[in-house]
């Protein structure tokens, strides 16, 4: 489940990775049929002997009336104490992301994590990018969606190997899902891995997948103030792609305002203004990726 929005509550099927099957949307079983495989460890651990006096005044209001719970009998008499932890909540994801990064680096892959709202043109942009990158850069694609493999089918038209990850009700990809998906992808002659994240401008910002570059799309149809509305996502961007610029006139897109907003929220991001349909701006993007890929090659494997 997501720390940000609470999606994917228990009772959900775990995210599936599959190259073929398109799963129907899972029924939401909100909350009540959890299948915890009980984390309960009270009493089963550490034979440290307690010499606490039995029966001391209980200060805490929570009188856990759970008779017969299998906790070891002395537990309720133990003193309440504070344990300092100070650890990142997403540590597990970060660890797995580092593992992915090591794997990617060892293979000389340039890895891009594409993020945007639904409908800003990720799939079309990626498909056209893959086509234009050939023959210098050969891409494999992992695509995440809550359900269906429609995007995977569209992406296969580019000729690249594609693996679909259906996340069920989870609103973002996690490093672990990518780690599994990549095992199913034939990367032998590939030097770029493109990950199309679930369309969502909030939660995916928190999840490192092990990518080299975070690419955030903003289509001209979305309004110039989108970066101001979703600062965490845009702040984390290495690259911002302004997509669908062929529609700019039709939707009264204010270019100056959009660029000013982006510079405010994502001052370090490289900005490309593109149209996947007309090809405008795609050469500059292609050149940039070639440069980035060359830079990776000279870096060599980690460690």
């Amino acid at each position: 489940m997501c720390n940000d929005c609470g999606c994917g509550l228990p009772g959900e099927k775990p995210a599936g990775v599959g190259a073929h099957h398109s799963e129907p949307a899972h029924e939401h079983g909100h909350g009540h049929e959890h299948e915890h495989d009980h984390e309960h460890g009270p009493g089963h651990h550490h034979g440290h002997d307690h010499s606490h006096p039995h029966r001391h005044p209980h200060t805490h209001a929570e009188a856990h009336a759970e008779p017969g719970h299998d906790a070891a009998p002395p537990a309720e008499n133990e003193a309440r104490r504070t344990v300092e932890v100070r650890r990142a909540i997403l540590e597990k994801n970060e660890r797995l992301a580092e593992r992915n990064r090591g794997f990617f680096r060892a293979r000389g892959l340039l890895v891009l994590n594409f993020l945007s709202s639904p409908g800003s043109g990720k799939t079309t942009f990626i498909r056209e990018s893959v086509r234009r990158l050939e023959p210098d850069l050969k891409a494999g694609v992992i695509v995440g969606d809550l359900a269906t493999d429609n995007d995977a089918r569209r992406l296969r038209e580019s000729g690249a190997p594609v693996v679909q990850v259906t996340t069920g009700t989870v609103c973002h990809l996690e490093a672990e899902m990518v780690g599994r998906a990549v095992q199913q992808l034939d990367l032998r002659d590939r030097n770029v891995l493109i990950i199309e994240n679930v369309g969502n401008l909030v939660c995916p910002a928190s999840y490192d997948l092990g990518e080299d570059l975070r690419v955030v799309l903003l289509s001209v149809t979305e309004g110039e103030d989108k970066p101001l509305k979703y600062p965490p996502m845009f702040q984390s961007a290495d690259v911002v792609i302004i997509s669908k610029i062929d529609l700019a006139a039709a939707c009264g897109y204010d270019r100056a305002a959009a660029l000013a907003n982006l510079r405010r929220v994502s001052p370090r991001a490289r900005i490309f203004e593109t149209s996947a349909r007309t090809g405008e701006g795609m050469d500059a993007w292609r050149e940039f990726l070639c440069e980035q890929q060359r830079a990776r090659r000279t870096l060599g494997p980690l460690g």
Binding site: M1, N3, C5, H34, E39, H64, V83, V85, P231, P267
Partner: protein, 107 residues
């Protein structure tokens, strides 16, 4: 929240604890995390675990930015920060994206 709860329960076990009474989190204002959503998710996830009935305490961490030009740090309530001296937008975020399990009260 599942990750937070998982980490809390693991730490509790490792400390030889039984029940969790208080979970303290530090959440940056720029982390994208909505405290209400955390509370809601905690309520859904905790029952049946040793953290059932525990109190969730969320400390909000303000955003702190670094201005390269003025070589100074500044805090901002606004998520889009401008240096109060030179009024340039700052790219370097020094704090405010934390999602941290700070401490636990257990027995």
């Amino acid at each position: 929240m599942q990750s937070a709860l998982g980490l809390a329960l693991k730490q509790t076990r490792e400390a030889g604890g039984g029940r969790v009474h208080v979970i303290r989190l530090r959440i940056g204002v720029l982390s994208g995390v909505v405290p209400d959503a955390l509370e809601f998710a905690f309520g859904a996830l905790a029952p049946g675990t040793p953290a059932e009935g525990a109190r969730l305490v969320i400390e909000s961490v303000p955003a702190r930015f670094w201005c390269e030009a003025c070589a100074r740090e500044f805090q901002s309530e606004d998520l889009l920060a401008e240096c109060p001296d030179c009024h340039r937008a700052s790219g370097e975020l020094r704090a405010g994206r934390e999602m941290e399990l700070a401490s636990l009260e257990i027995d």
